[in-house]
């Protein structure tokens, strides 16, 4: 409950922060998206209040995480998200730490690789700027189950991706010392446990080397700010 409230506060903060970005248009070339048909999804953790299965409405999701090149465009168009400008409450000191400067990822960074060291606030703002939104945990996990190729692309050293409600499913209370297995629908899904334990410890301003994001939307290519 508290987490939900915090998320709502976060959302309001981001909406107000995002208002300054509205005047800047998203890139014309939209990232390729695929339709994930609606259906029932079995969450990793059992929900005591409702039936186990959760219905996920049809949605579109990017076929790959947002790249350094794409994020560079976003930063250029939105001065508030430059590394030198960003406020600490929106991104910690690791924000884009591997980039050489505000507008130069540098030679060591492959522009086509997924962008990492971006906070939840930054990822959320990017998706809004692109006319999309972050996928929910349920959408992300459901998409990964339906289409595993989406998350297992060889050559990417990206392990985790931001989701809209990343810390809403807390595993900590029941998780200590192996207890979590009993409350899980599939205790053998160790990859999912790794993702949940990672998400569970995140705060929205954290920026990490192994953490990137992709966007989702109700319709193909997004709808909100699209020009």
């Amino acid at each position: 409950m508290i987490l939900k409230v915090i998320n709502t506060i976060i959302l309001i903060l981001v909406l107000s922060a995002g208002s300054s970005a509205k005047s800047n248009a998203a890139p014309d070339s939209q990232t390729k998206m695929i339709l994930i048909p609606g259906g029932y999804y079995l969450p990793l953790f059992k929900d005591e209040e409702s039936s186990n299965k959760e219905f996920v409405k049809p949605f579109y999701i990017d076929t790959r995480p947002v790249t350094n090149a794409e994020f560079l465009e976003f930063v250029k168009a939105n001065p508030g998200w430059r590394r030198s400008n960003v406020k600490r409450i929106f991104a910690d000191q690791n924000y884009l730490r591997k980039w050489k400067s505000d507008f130069e990822p540098g030679r060591k960074i492959n522009l086509d690789d997924p962008v990492t060291d971006v906070s939840w606030f930054a990822a959320n703002a990017y998706c809004k700027w692109a006319g999309k939104r972050l996928p929910t945990v349920s959408e992300w996990e459901y998409a990964a189950q339906k289409s595993p190729a989406l998350i297992n692309k060889p050559g990417w050293h990206l392990l985790y991706e931001w989701t809209f409600d990343f810390n809403e499913t807390t595993i900590q209370a029941s998780s200590v010392c192996g207890g979590a297995g009993a409350s899980a629908n599939d205790p053998r899904n160790y990859a999912a446990f790794l993702r949940f334990s990672f998400r569970d410890n995140l705060k929205a301003n954290y920026s990490m080397d192994d953490l990137g994001f992709r966007c989702a939307s109700k319709s193909f290519g997004g709808s909100l700010n699209k020009k």
Binding site: N94, S175, A180, Y190, S197
Partner: protein, 492 residues
């Protein structure tokens, strides 16, 4: 008046001396105070070392700083594994503190780790043993404090989801909360930790091995090891002591699945603190059961020099999965405690035993054996008796490889039957039985390349067995005498 003054000042001096003495007694080596005083950093050691006993007579604030790291390392010769560790090694550092200490624990997760980590110390009274408050993302630090109320030996391990994976990958160690009164002094203290590894490849398969969830779920480890890898407690890494010294082992078993049957071959534990508690639960113990996530303290004195093998006596784990360590003891032999080998005799079955019982002469000299007594009695000259004695030697020593019919095993063990190699050179044959032979040899046109060990047989036995072989299996019928064997034995 003068006298009275002197007496008073004497009383003053004496009483202040007494007060000073009392102060020294109570603050120095005497009663253990419950007041937490001072701050210090914990002395951490890697296995098999244990930090020295704590001399304080009061609890302190103790700062423990451990960094979680993911490192590729050696699991066995030629076998690598991507270990998740406390402090860069498996097992993690040994933490030694004193009963009543207040520990300020700093858990740092290396920025190059790919997953969050945490710590559950079984010595902690509180939710998750610290796990709930120490969940730490890569590049972050968690700090929490606890009071070490319970003395004893405890496991610590990572408790981040999925917990079994974090444990299976190497995240565990021991924390010893030394009781107020300490333990009796010993000559050596060592840290031994048993654990399992589950790899996709078989035992010994080379290269970087991945974690196998299937084997872990079946509780069927590929490796069971002491101190993190095969050989981490043997050879150059063996434990050492001298004859007459006392040893205390702090033994932990993290599992993650198996209960250990901890045993040292050739040692009886004088004292056992079962489950790592504070009481000596048994004396004179052979094997200690240590549950997964549990510990034990064992104490013993080494009395005879030699190498002692430390095993999980669930013995296939020792023989086939790596659960072997060594304790090397140097010093003088005490033959009253252990004689060493006094004789090496042949045994022909219980019938002959009965025969020996009626022959007190052959029992007096332990170097004498049945074949000798047969060969050296009145009928020694009888070739029939010699061949009969030789057949017995063959049936106990040679037949396993050369086969009862002397035909050997194709490509592995050369034949003795109609053997050109055997029949060509009697002296060479004697030499091979005496000293063994290894490397390529051509017998009856076939190449063999194997090793035959030197045989510990008497000259009489060798003469008898070779005479038997030469008179059997279609061979040339040569006779070999004791003198011929002696000559070659001494000529070497």
């Amino acid at each position: 008046m003068e006298k009275k003054k002197i007496i008073i000042s004497l009383i003053i001096i004496l009483s202040s001396l007494a007060a000073a003495a009392a102060a020294i007694y109570f603050s120095g080596c005497g009663e253990y105070s419950n007041k937490v005083e001072g701050v210090e950093y914990a002395n951490l050691t890697y296995a098999p070392d244990v930090p020295p006993a704590i001399q304080r007579n009061h609890p302190s604030k103790v700062i423990v700083n451990i960094e979680t790291m993911q490192v590729e390392g050696r699991l066995a010769d030629g076998v690598k594994y991507n270990f998740w560790t406390f402090g860069g090694r498996v097992p993690g550092e040994f933490i030694r503190i004193k009963e009543g200490d207040v520990v300020e624990f700093h858990l740092d997760n290396s920025p190059i780790c790919s997953v969050p980590h945490s710590i559950d110390l079984h010595a902690v009274s509180g939710p998750g043993g610290g796990a709930a408050v120490s969940q730490t993302l890569p590049g972050h630090e968690s700090v929490f404090s606890f009071k070490a109320d319970h003395p004893g030996l405890f496991i610590y391990h990572c408790a981040t989801q999925p917990v079994p994976l974090h444990i299976a990958n190497g995240m565990y160690g021991l924390i010893y909360v030394e009781p107020k009164d300490g333990l009796s002094p010993v000559d050596h203290e060592y840290y031994v930790m048993q654990s399992e590894f589950y790899t996709t490849g078989n035992y010994g398969d080379s290269g970087l091995q991945e974690f196998s969830l299937d084997k872990a779920l079946q509780e069927n480890p590929t490796y069971v090891v002491f101190n993190g890898s095969v050989g981490a407690l043997s050879g150059d890494n063996a434990l050492h002591a001298k004859v007459g010294e006392t040893i205390r082992l702090f033994v932990g078993n993290i599992g993650p699945n198996l209960t250990s049957s901890f045993h040292i071959i050739g040692v009886v534990f004088d004292k056992v603190y079962l489950f790592g508690g504070t009481n000596v639960t048994q004396e004179n113990v052979q094997t200690v059961s240590i549950p997964a996530g549990g510990a034990a303290i064992v104490e013993f004195k080494v009395k005879v020099p030699g190498t002692y093998t430390i095993v999980d006596h669930s013995i296939f784990r020792a023989f086939n999965k790596g659960a072997v360590g060594m304790l090397k003891v140097t010093g003088d032999y005490n033959k009253e405690i252990f004689s060493g080998k006094q004789s090496d005799n042949l045994f022909y079955g219980s019938d002959l035993d009965k025969k020996l019982e009626n022959n007190p002469d052959s029992q007096q000299d332990v170097s004498e054996n049945p074949a000798n007594s047969e060969a050296s009695n009145e009928n020694a000259n009888s070739i029939v008796d010699i061949i009969a004695a030789g057949k017995k030697v063959f049936s106990s020593t040679c037949f396993a490889c050369h086969q009862p019919d002397g035909k050997g095993v194709p490509n592995i063990f050369p034949p003795l039957a109609q053997s050109n190699f055997l029949n060509a050179d009697k002296e060479r044959a004697i030499g091979i039985v005496l000293h063994g032979k290894s490397g390529p040899v051509n017998v009856n046109g076939k190449q063999f390349n194997n090793t035959m060990p030197a045989q510990s047989l008497s000259d009489d036995q060798i003469a008898a067995v070779l005479t038997y072989v030469y008179h059997s299996f279609g061979n040339s019928g040569k006779t070999v005498t004791k003198d011929e064997v002696s000559k070659i034995r001494n000529g070497k």
